[in-house]
Amino acid sequence: MISVISLRRSDTAPADDGVPPAGMTARDLLDEAVAGLFARPGRTLLTVLGTVIGLGALVATLGLSLTASNRIVGRFDELSATQITITVNPAESGPAREVPWDAPERLGRLNGVVAAGNLSEIDVGDALVSASPINDPQRRTEFKLGVVAASPELFTAVRARLRTGRLLDDGLSARAEPVVVLGPNAATQLGIGRVDHLPTISIGEERFTVIGILDGVERRFDLLSAVIVTEGTARSLYQVRSPTSVIVDTELGAAPLLAQQSPLALDPTDPAGFQIASPEQPQRVREAVRGDLDVLFLMLGGVSLLVGAIGIANVTLVSVMERVGEIGLRRALGATRRHIAMQFLLESAAMGVLGGILGASGGLLVVVGVSLHQTWTPVVHPAVPLLAPLVGGIIGLLAGLYPALRAARLEPVEALRAGT
């Protein structure tokens, strides 16, 4: 092998004289990057912490907002799908129509009705409600409270829970007994917490015995601050001619059909005289509140992502400085600058992917944990946890650009002489 061939650089641009170029398979590149990552597992984990927190916050925020909105919609659907409210149609002219007193009985015969109850609003004029017979100048004892009459079935229809005492029944109504049931807010205002000592209240000049206090209702929240009397009392004392509305609790899915059947059941000759209503939708207001929170958390997530990216860039740079000897060695073993840059890029990208996986897992755990605590159904868009590692990888890639270029620019022999 005597040197006879002498290709000058000017002769042929890419010297093709049988010298095969260096190369590296993708598999080897991946192996080297992963090995670099796991050389110091503790440091790698600390490095990706920022990315983990950032992506975790994003996944948790997106998951929780979807879960919460699903909850609101779901709850609203369940309640609204099982409720109809029947009132007299005010648009209808002609002879004054009335909701019959026996509406609960008539509607109770229909299939799908869980409970139907009359609610009658009573106009008590300027009469105030008071629990104390003594007029105390130091303290306000008289309050303007709503007074309504309820048929016994109404409490079932609004899904009322009783805190103490008993509810109104048919017997009390038939005898028009002077008894009342208080909504929880009304009871608090009047200072009544117990009924075993038979407390009395007065509405204007009339005196009533409190026999029960509600704990809560699921519909008709006006009942919470109301004084509820019997229908008999409403008729005899306040000359109420007919109930204001009928609240019907239906079985799931029965409401649309019952909305058609109920007017006929109430008055077969003139069903058009009634109006069927469902409660107002509370959805939009809540969504606006939720949107504000989302923006805050997404911004927090974004900031931690930025911090995470800086963390990765910083540690990768330190790692390049520490591994000067290794870089020199790799160059001597046949690595080109490009190989070195690719290895460090891949290492930082892998850190980002790792952060994305850990962050997505943490975020999902948060969503599931909060849902468990609130007894919600966790809902997460399937793309969110899958995109997190991708986003992490891109962040890692960007963070690794500068360190990788620094590594590629190192002069091999100086790197080798620099030490281990």
Binding site: R331, G334, V413
Partner: protein
């Protein structure tokens, strides 16, 4: 004496653009196949520049360098890298073993950039280690080895690709005299089996083992053929 493996003709290398420092001026050097040459010189004399150029890590500014008949200056970066991975073996003063990889993995690293198949890579590494008497250390981490053992791992790594030239940069600089003797023994053995070796050193004891010595002072080679 075999054919000429290394031919340097008037190789010059300057650093810096405005007021360049000449690290190597008009170096002429011929190393034949199977020869053992020692390059001796104080620090700052241009030894590392020469190593850079002979090791195909850098290109000369002037003059020509032929390695095994190939004009290195005319090669692309990737081709020079290919040359390093397939035809050159490096041994360094600081060993440069990766601390977190096992001895066998360190040796296997030599094949990564030459596109050699993964199949049989570990077997070839184990064979190279066995030849250095380190067959039982394959799964150790380098941190558990003595300095001499580490340098033997490095030599095993440099030989896996069966290079045409072994380039040793102060191979015994970090070793005590007894271990130095062992390493020199190994190098002598390799030389006896026909491997071309170029050793860069400032230790007379190491230089004495080579067949031929050249001195480099202030970027000029003296006593070179």
């Amino acid at each position: 004496m075999g054919a000429e493996l290394i031919v340097l003709d008037g190789v010059t290398r300057r650093y810096g653009a405005a007021s360049p420092v000449v690290a190597l001026r008009g170096a002429n050097l011929r190393v034949c196949s199977g020869e053992w040459l020692a390059i001796v010189g104080p620090s700052g004399s241009g030894k590392s520049t020469l190593l850079n150029i002979i090791g195909c890590l850098d290109r000369p500014d002037g003059g020509t360098y032929h390695f095994d008949g190939i004009d290195v200056a005319a090669l692309s970066d990737r081709q020079r890298a290919g040359l390093r991975s397939r035809r050159l073996g490096f041994v360094f003063q600081a060993f440069h073993l990766l601390a977190h990889r096992t001895v066998a993995e360190n040796v296997m690293l030599a094949e990564v950039y030459g596109l050699r198949p993964r199949a049989g890579r570990r077997e070839r590494a184990l064979a190279a280690l066995a030849a250095m008497g380190l067959g039982d250390r394959a799964d150790y981490l380098p941190t558990r080895l003595s300095g001499g053992e580490r340098q033997r791992v490095a030599i095993a790594r440099s030989l896996v690709n069966e290079p045409a030239l072994l380039l040793c940069d102060e191979p015994t600089g970090n070793l005590d005299s007894q271990t130095t003797a062992t390493i020199l023994e190994i190098l002598g053995d390799l030389h006896d089996r026909g491997l071309t070796i170029v050793t860069i050193t400032h230790e007379p004891e190491v230089a004495a083992r080579a067949q031929r010595r050249v001195r480099i002072v202030d970027g000029e080679l003296r006593g070179a053929a």
